[in-house]
């Protein structure tokens, strides 16, 4: 465990780095990078969209690993990390769905299609929400942590099966519209670098939010203990 001052310093550095890189990313997206010729202005949302997808998956992975460690070590810290990761994951998952819809409307002509990646993201969002609702509905602290960890592990394993099944389901159905296959390899350098900076910005943002959220959960926990102690002293 870091000492308090080292922790604050590290937190400051992280925050400053995050703000700088996020600022740079915003500048690159809105000023530096040219619009794509075919799609026009709306294509710029793609930088937010792809980076959010990345963060959303990372959040799931963090929650999955932290939950396994929680069940193994039983330290509340890991439960806090898993819970914070899912909260942030839910947010970015929602962003992926919203930015995707905004982009799809002018480009594909529809707000939504039941395409495998879209369907998978939606199911993932539902699992994230179920996780948060489960937490809100269990009163006992240790039980809440244990059940949430079980759900995160089950969901983490299940997501691969969900992906397989959705792909199987879609291949048997005609696609409503033709979807252009866009790979990052074909990107011109300016777009590629903007995307890379966006990735780093979102990564820093994710870990910043995670750190703050875990810190908040930890403080709440400490506060609860102090309250308990005061109650006990007053009674005794």
């Amino acid at each position: 465990m870091l000492s308090r001052s080292a922790f604050t310093l590290w937190r400051m550095i992280h925050a400053v780095a995050m703000y700088v890189v996020v600022g740079l990313a915003l500048w690159m997206i809105f000023v530096y990078v040219p619009s794509e010729k075919g799609q026009g202005l709306v294509q710029r949302i793609f930088y937010f969209h792809v980076s959010s997808t990345f963060t959303m998956s990372l959040a799931g992975l963090v929650a999955f690993v932290a939950s396994i460690i929680y069940l193994w070590k039983k330290a509340p810290r890991w439960d806090n990390i898993a819970m914070s990761a899912v909260e942030i994951g839910t947010l970015f998952c929602a962003l992926v769905l919203i930015t995707g819809s905004i982009w799809a409307r002018p480009i594909w002509g529809v707000w939504w299609t039941w395409d495998p990646p879209l369907t998978l993201t939606l199911v993932l969002w539902l699992i994230y929400v179920a996780y948060l609702m489960l937490r809100a509905n269990v009163q006992d602290d240790t039980k809440r942590a244990r059940f949430a960890a079980v759900l995160a592990i089950v969901g983490g394993v299940d997501i691969f099966l969900i992906y397989l099944s959705i792909r199987m389901w879609r291949t048997l159905h005609p696609k409503p519209i033709v979807i252009q296959e866009g790979g990052t390899t074909g990107l011109p350098p300016s777009m590629f670098w903007t995307l890379m900076v966006c990735f780093v910005a979102f990564l820093l943002l994710f870990f910043y939010l995670l750190r703050e959220r875990v810190f908040l959960a930890q403080s709440r926990h400490d506060l609860e203990i102090i309250r308990q102690e005061i109650d006990d002293t007053l009674k005794g």
Binding site: L71, V123, L126, I127, V129, A130, M133, L134, N137, V138, Q139, D140, K143, R146, F147, A149, V150, L151, I153, V154, G155, V157, D158, L161, I162, L164, S165, I166, M168, W169, L172
Partner: protein, 240 residues
């Protein structure tokens, strides 16, 4: 050598105890069910109601019905199962029954296995009744694919039972069980819903088992994964 033999006999006797306890728990559940007939009746009537309501919603056009029949059957079965699981845990939570059962168990996974078997039995019974009614009401011939349909039913119901039983014991400790069970259960069982609906649809269209190997494999993998996962995490679910 002697030590190996000892540990082998210990393993044998512990697995014997395990099977005995599973059978005892199963007998208890089935006996209660036989006396009250509460779970089966509510599941069956509910499934029939879902089918009837769907019939009004989609109209009685035979061609449309043929297209959506497998979806309707599985929706009815899955909803009925959620209802049945809720009833089953309700019985366990009354008078703190679950606590007593857990205290008596040598290995707690026995409870998981027994609950899954009981649930599979109820579900198979409901499925047979619903399919029978379906074939009569909508004039769909199921005899040609009877055997293949059984395989799909068993694989699907097994998977749903693993997931459902695990989550039903989790929601036992939540404030709003009735809402939480479907919220947890449905997104996790997406692969199974897709596979069982489309496998059943293919069979009704007259395809053979070899045409649906993909779906059967997926269901098999799902079942194995969730059996193993269920047994692994079950202790954490029922731990006090």
């Amino acid at each position: 050598m002697h030590k190996d033999l000892n540990s082998f006999t210990a393993l044998m006797s512990s697995s014997k105890i395990f099977i005995q306890q599973v059978l005892a728990l199963l007998a208890k559940d089935l006996k209660t069910e036989w006396r009250t007939r509460e779970i089966f009746t509510s599941m069956f009537v509910f499934a029939v109601l879902v089918v009837v309501v769907f019939n009004f919603a989609i109209g009685a056009d035979p061609q449309v019905i043929r297209k959506v029949v497998s979806g309707v059957v599985w929706v009815a079965l899955v909803f009925a199962m959620i209802l049945g699981l809720q009833r089953a845990i309700q019985c366990e939570s009354e008078e703190d029954c679950l606590h007593g059962v857990l205290l008596a168990l040598h290995d707690r996974s026995a409870l998981f296995v027994a609950k899954v078997i009981a649930n599979v039995l109820y579900m198979l019974l409901v499925a047979v009744c619903v399919l029978f009614l379906f074939s009569i009401w909508f004039g769909i011939d199921l005899t040609s694919c009877f055997f293949a349909l059984w395989i799909v039913l068993v694989l699907g119901i097994l998977g749903f039972s693993f997931v459902g039983t695990l989550f039903s014991l989790i929601v036992l400790h939540t404030r709003t069980r009735e809402i939480m069970l479907p919220l947890l259960f449905l997104p996790i069982s997406v692969p199974l819903i897709i596979a069982s609906v489309y496998a059943t649809a293919s069979l009704i269209e007259g395809k053979s088992l070899t045409d649906i190997t993909d779906y059967l494999t997926l269901m098999g993998v799902f079942d194995v994964v969730f059996l193993v996962l269920g047994l692994l995490v079950f202790d954490f679910v029922v731990e006090e």
